[in-house]
């Protein structure tokens, strides 16, 4: 089901972020949101995820039971290991910790209904190894570098089996090699899923592919109104 946002209004005090905004995100595709800082990209993601209530308008097509996200901050439990951080969210159908036919392509094999903890850990390890975190998998997350934590956050979003994934500047702070590895990993696992990524980098945009949405101030000269220009599809 496509994500449809109609008549979205959101203000913080005197600051109007959205004034009757309409957005469409086709199901099962990758969407890249770009735009200058402070134009409302993060707010839009939070509204889509249901973390903020709109002042007006409707958001349709987001299944609250099958969402995942990479937040601007890593939002990891620092006392837990990367494996446990990922396992914590693996409750959805199709995650590395559940049975069913939605296992991410190229990753875990179809699993029996009650997957044993050991098997789940092995599957999570597969994911972590793909982004170069095999060695760090069982270290407390607080001991990891910022880039490593970022990759754990990406793995958590991709391994949980969600149908809709929101990413807010997911590759921020990663060096080029790790960023390219992570983008390849995300691209691999996002086939058939709705992926909405906020980024400032045209290079990341090129590597990820998908539909480009550019958020900008309204051409009518009202700085507080935003519009989304739907650009060409990037392959």
């Amino acid at each position: 089901m496509d994500i449809k946002v109609r008549g979205l209004c959101k203000s913080y005090g005197d600051l109007t972020v959205f004034d009757h905004g309409d957005f469409d995100f086709a199901c099962g595709q990758t969407h890249i949101l770009m735009g200058e800082s402070g134009c409302g990209k993060t707010t839009l993601l939070r509204l889509l995820m249901g973390l903020e209530k709109p002042d007006g308008g409707t958001v349709e097509g987001v299944d609250p039971g099958s969402m995942a996200a990479v937040f601007q901050e890593d939002c990891l439990c620092l006392n837990l290991t990367p494996v446990t951080n990922v396992a914590l969210v693996c409750t959805m159908q199709g995650s590395v910790g559940a049975g069913g036919g939605k296992t991410p392509p190229g990753m875990a094999l179809p699993l029996p209904h009650r997957v044993r903890k050991r098997d789940m850990r092995r599957n999570i390890m597969d994911h972590l190894e793909r982004v170069g975190l095999g060695e760090a998998a069982f270290r407390p997350t607080r001991e990891l570098s910022g880039g490593m934590r970022r990759r754990v956050a990406i793995v958590r979003a991709m391994a949980c089996g969600a149908d809709t994934i929101f990413m807010d500047e997911p590759f921020k702070g990663l060096d080029e090699k790790n960023r390219d590895e992570c983008i390849a990993y995300v691209r691999d696992l996002s086939a058939g899923k709705t992926l909405i990524v906020v980024t400032h980098s045209p290079e990341e945009c090129e590597l990820l592919g998908g539909q480009l949405h550019h958020m900008e101030a309204s051409p009518h000269g009202q700085d507080d109104r935003k519009q989304v220009t739907q650009g060409a599809r990037i392959i």
Binding site: M49, G50, L51, P64, G65, S66, M67, A68, A69, F71, E73, C75, C77, N79, L80, T84, L88, V89, T91, M92, R156, C160, A162, F166
Partner: protein, 255 residues
């Protein structure tokens, strides 16, 4: 170099400091030379060794330990439970605010005398320890819940993490430092208040009764010996409780 700069100072009790204060105590006792005013540590420990061989010694420790520990555990359980309810429902918080404030402000002696009318002296220390612990644990836990990482809560909501997992892996580890801090503060208070309740209520076979008798007969070696016992039990109990809490959190997170 970096390691040296960032190393935190150790806050625990150091052996040299203990030796220093014991030595000072010994020197002071030797200078005063009057047992009735100040007993030397050597004499106090000697008396303690004698008491340890008497039949009533361990019974008194068991009597007081059982009651004060029960009061502490009740206060801990109710404090955490009520704080969770207060965090969930604002009306509960509003309802409890005057009670907690009053419980924190009323002097222990007033509470003890008030409660003696209602509760038998044998169980008074349970209730007094409970009353001393409850507001401290409640306040700390509520503060811990209020300071929980908003980002982690958002994460749990988006990913649909089940409630049991949220509690075990996300909430507990964030609130636990506040509960532990509350325990450290309230453990000392509950022992002082519990023993005070026993000294006033004089239940037979308690440490408080022994302290009271020491006072009546001006038996200073006994008074110091029993004080050493109280301090020792209090410290050991605190260490045990904090260790058990750490172990509990670890076991929950590494199931």
């Amino acid at each position: 170099m970096e390691e040296k700069r960032t190393r935190q100072p150790r806050h625990g009790i150091r052996l040299w400091a203990v030796v220093f204060w014991l030595a000072l105590w010994q020197v002071a006792a030797m200078c005063i030379k009057q047992e009735i005013l100040l007993v030397s540590p050597v004499l106090a420990v000697g008396r303690l060794a004698q008491l340890a061989l008497t039949p009533g010694f361990w019974g008194s420790i068991g009597f007081s330990l059982l009651r004060i520990a029960s009061g502490f555990l009740l206060g801990l359980g109710f404090g955490v439970g009520l704080a969770v309810c207060s965090a969930l429902w604002v009306r509960v918080r509003e309802l409890l605010a005057p009670f907690m404030q009053t419980a924190k402000s009323i002097p222990v002696a007033s509470f003890i005398i008030l409660c003696l009318v209602w509760i038998s002296s044998r169980n008074l220390s349970v209730f007094i320890a409970f009353l001393m612990v409850l507001p401290v644990i409640y306040t700390n836990t509520l503060e811990g819940i209020g300071n929980m990482d908003k980002g982690l809560q958002d994460m749990a909501r988006v990913f649909g993490v089940p409630a049991a997992r949220r509690v075990a892996y996300i909430y507990t580890s964030q609130v636990m430092p506040y509960i532990k801090s509350g325990c450290k503060i309230s453990l000392g208070i509950c022992w002082k208040a519990g023993i005070a309740a026993e000294v006033i209520g004089i239940p037979s076979g308690s440490i408080g009764e022994k302290l009271y008798q020491s006072k009546i007969f001006l038996d200073m070696p006994d008074l110091f010996a029993w004080t050493i016992v109280i301090v020792t039990i209090s410290v050991l109990f605190e260490k045990l409780v904090l260790r058990l809490m750490e172990w509990g959190v670890y076991a929950m997170e590494h199931r």
